[in-house]
């Protein structure tokens, strides 16, 4: 593929609006990194001399570690900065942080923030390439890319698949990025959950179908993506209890058989076993949850590599 057809942005803030032609090269590059990672001979020079800062305003050991590994496997100098949210809950403070980072002259900035749009705001103020590692309820593009890559490895393609995204879709940045990616790649997307977690307005996100009945939503799907149900959703009155949620919206054996025989079971982690997913389903042969974690590193290597090449020379 010619370079002109590749994603040419300096940042990766989200997948909304991206085309299949822009997404596929990330997946292809990630696939090659997956092989290299497994062979334990990753190229340690792709980001040699580059500085990667993981700037996390929200705790996330898994994602941060994944980016850290990805950066290190490509030879970058990786620095982790965890910032207490309470001290940066004002826009001015976030911009102060940007000024500090500019002074440090880092090349790649991986940002997680509890507020939607925070990485976008930073990206306008820093010299570095910004990767959104999850912002509020907005997007989590590398998670969607790793999900897509996992699906592609097992089912060969994303075109023509039916993917059910189940549970707390409304609050999920993972779901939003997946909706953009999957629909761009030619999959049909179903959003499944109670109306309090999957409001009717979700249908406006694109070519998606909304189901409030789990059985109907899972019937004949190729992929079941379950989402983590945050405990605070119960306190907020969105669902009555964990046991009720599992009874009506949990992915268990009884519901798994409604999907296609070899449907994949996915979860972005960390899982609430017995809440959104039954333990035996999470550990079943149809589950690709651990593989998602592995692909996460490869995808992040591909993203960091690609963005570092897009950087305008200083």
């Amino acid at each position: 593929m010619a370079d002109s057809q590749l994603y040419s942005g300096r940042h990766l803030l989200g997948l909304e609006g991206m085309t299949a032609a822009q997404i596929e090269p990330f997946l292809d590059l990630a696939a090659s990194y997956a092989l290299l990672s497994r062979s334990r001979t990753p190229p340690r020079d792709a980001l040699r001399g580059r500085t990667l800062i993981n700037l996390f305003f929200e705790d996330s050991t898994r994602t941060r570690t994944s980016f850290e590994l990805a950066g290190k496997r490509l030879g970058a100098d990786v620095i982790n900065m965890t910032v207490a949210t309470s001290s940066v809950n004002k826009g001015e403070t976030l911009l102060d942080t940007a000024a500090t980072l500019n002074a440090m002259r880092c090349d790649l900035l991986v940002v997680r923030h509890a507020q939607s749009g925070a990485p976008a705001l930073l990206s306008r103020k820093v010299e570095a390439s910004v990767v959104n590692a999850g912002d509020g309820m907005h997007e989590h593009p590398t998670q969607a890319l790793l999900d897509a890559m996992t699906i592609r490895r097992h089912l060969g393609t994303l075109r023509g698949l039916t993917v059910a995204i189940c549970g707390d879709v409304g609050h999920s940045r993972v779901a939003r990025s997946n909706i953009h990616l999957l629909t761009a790649m030619g999959s049909k997307v179903r959003l499944v959950g109670p109306p309090t977690l999957v409001p009717a307005a979700m249908a406006s996100l694109g070519n998606v179908e909304v189901f409030h009945d789990m059985e109907a939503g899972l019937r004949d799907v190729d992929v079941i993506m379950t989402l983590r149900l945050q405990r605070e959703r119960m306190g907020a009155g969105l669902v009555p209890s964990a046991r009720e949620f599992f009874r009506f919206y949990g992915v268990d054996r009884r519901r798994l058989v409604l999907a296609k025989p070899n449907a994949l079971v996915m979860h972005p982690g960390p899982m609430n076993r017995g809440v959104e997913i039954a333990s035996d389903v999470a550990d079943s042969t149809q589950s690709v949850i651990q593989e998602q974690v592995e692909m996460g590193v490869a995808v992040r290597m591909a993203v960091l590599d690609r963005l570092s090449r897009m950087r305008v020379p200083a």
Partner: protein
């Protein structure tokens, strides 16, 4: 095999638009035949009930009943409530969940259903609590309660005050296809009040609840029902303004329904003169113009059902200064008689009135019964629409006696009630 043949009766079955002199055969607790002719229509093994020209209709379905049990057995038990129901021709009652404990656990729903069956006199259809403990805060396990047999969800005599919470409750209920029943009264406007706002309450020096408290909540909730698509039902609607809002919502095709109770079409605020605490109800008795609006709404179909709003209280709960007395009145035994007043004065036809007491509540609750169709459970009510009697507190069936109709002469009396084909009220032939 047991069989009973009802002869010499006027069968009225709103679900089939039937109003005819016919016979009805019950076999093994099920309606086995209607309009039977000749010898085959009079099986030799059948016991005969001669209705002597009285009306036989489906057993009444009362969609709003409070029982003292669990928690307040001194007011009323399931057994005493079942006796009152049977005496009123009522064979199925939907029971409010704001007992102690509240009906917010699936096991309690099953328990109540089972206790109803044990009486042999009445089926109990429990409402599930809308929020845990009916405290208006945390959402109850609506799906699990529904699986256990809850027919719909409500917090009973307390409206959900918080608008956002109500929106979430409606939204979640919509997702499981359940109906929400709301007590239509803005809690903050009603707080501390005991009589409808106006000249009388002012003159009596009573804390007031403006009629607008009903309209404000109904308007809010109709808007929320529109947002969420949920099925919303308002219990015991009592004001002209509230009914106008519901009428308009129905006109727009929204899934909004309502019921009222006999006090609101038969009594007005004048009943509380002399500080008569039996007439202290929730919502309070309204102005005469509101009562007339309720009558009109019965006639034009705005009101979907008539419920007794049976609320038993102990004598000591009522023997207090008006503002301190408990609100609510019994209604099972007087439900049919007071409703028939509206037939006798021409507001509604007999078949309309019986539809509001049988077929409509059954449909709203998704419950069986409310019909004389062959194959249906033989829950039946035999009554004389012209027999006169006087309501006397102290002599009513059941434990609680706090009727707002004390001393009222009624025309229309239940002669017999059958549950699953077994006579549970009236003289055995």
């Amino acid at each position: 095999m047991t069989a009973t043949l009802f002869e010499n009766v006027r069968l009225i079955d709103p679900s089939n638009e039937r109003d005819s002199q016919s016979r009805l055969l019950v076999r093994d607790g099920v309606i086995a035949g209607v309009d039977l002719a000749g010898a085959e229509g009079r099986p030799e093994d059948a016991a005969i009930v001669d209705g002597q020209g009285a009306i036989l209709c489906p057993g009444l379905i009362d969609m709003r009943v409070a029982i003292g049990e669990p928690g307040f057995e001194y007011r009323e038990t399931i057994a005493s409530c079942a006796r009152a129901a049977a005496a009123g021709g009522v064979t199925t009652i939907a029971v409010l969940p704001n007992s102690k404990p509240a009906i917010d656990e699936p096991a309690l729903v099953r328990l109540l259903r089972g206790r109803g069956e044990e009486t042999g006199q009445v089926s109990i259809l429990p409402y599930g609590a809308l929020t845990k403990g009916c405290n208006g805060e945390e959402m109850a396990e609506l799906g699990l309660l529904r699986e256990a047999g809850a027919v719909a969800f409500t917090d009973g005599t307390q409206a959900i005050a918080d608008t956002k919470r109500m929106r979430l409750l409606l939204s979640y209920a919509h997702g499981i296809g359940a109906m929400v029943v709301q007590h239509p009264e803005d809690p903050s406007l009603a707080r501390g009040g005991c009589a409808t706002g106006g000249a009388l309450a002012t003159q009596m020096g009573l804390p007031q609840i403006p009629a607008a408290a009903e309209a404000i909540l109904i308007a809010r909730d109709i808007r929320l029902a529109e947002m969420t698509g949920a099925r919303l039902h308002f219990g015991h609607v009592s004001t002209a303004e509230g009914l106008a809002l519901i009428r308009a919502a129905k006109g727009r095709g929204l899934p909004v329904t309502c019921d009222t109770a006999p006090p609101y079409f038969s009594l007005n605020e004048d009943e509380i003169r002399d500080f008569r605490t039996y007439a202290k109800l929730s919502p309070p008795l309204r102005a005469e113009s509101d009562r007339l609006a309720v009558c009109a709404a019965l006639s034009d179909g705005t009101i979907d059902a008539i419920a007794s709003d049976h609320t038993p209280w102990d004598a000591d709960d009522k023997r207090l200064p008006f503002a301190q007395a408990s609100a609510g009145g019994t209604g099972l035994a007087t439900l049919l008689g007071v409703t028939l007043e509206r037939v006798h004065n021409g507001d509604v036809t007999l078949i309309q009135a019986l539809r509001l007491l049988t077929q409509s509540p059954a449909a709203l609750l998704g419950a069986p019964g409310g019909t004389l169709a062959v194959g249906s459970t033989a829950d039946l009510c035999l009554f004389d629409p012209d027999a006169s009697w006087v309501v006397e507190a102290g002599t009513l069936p059941g434990r609680a006696q706090n009727t707002p109709f004390d001393g009222r002469a009624l025309r229309g009396k239940v002669l017999g009630t059958w549950k699953n084909g077994v006579r549970v009220f009236g003289e055995t032939e």
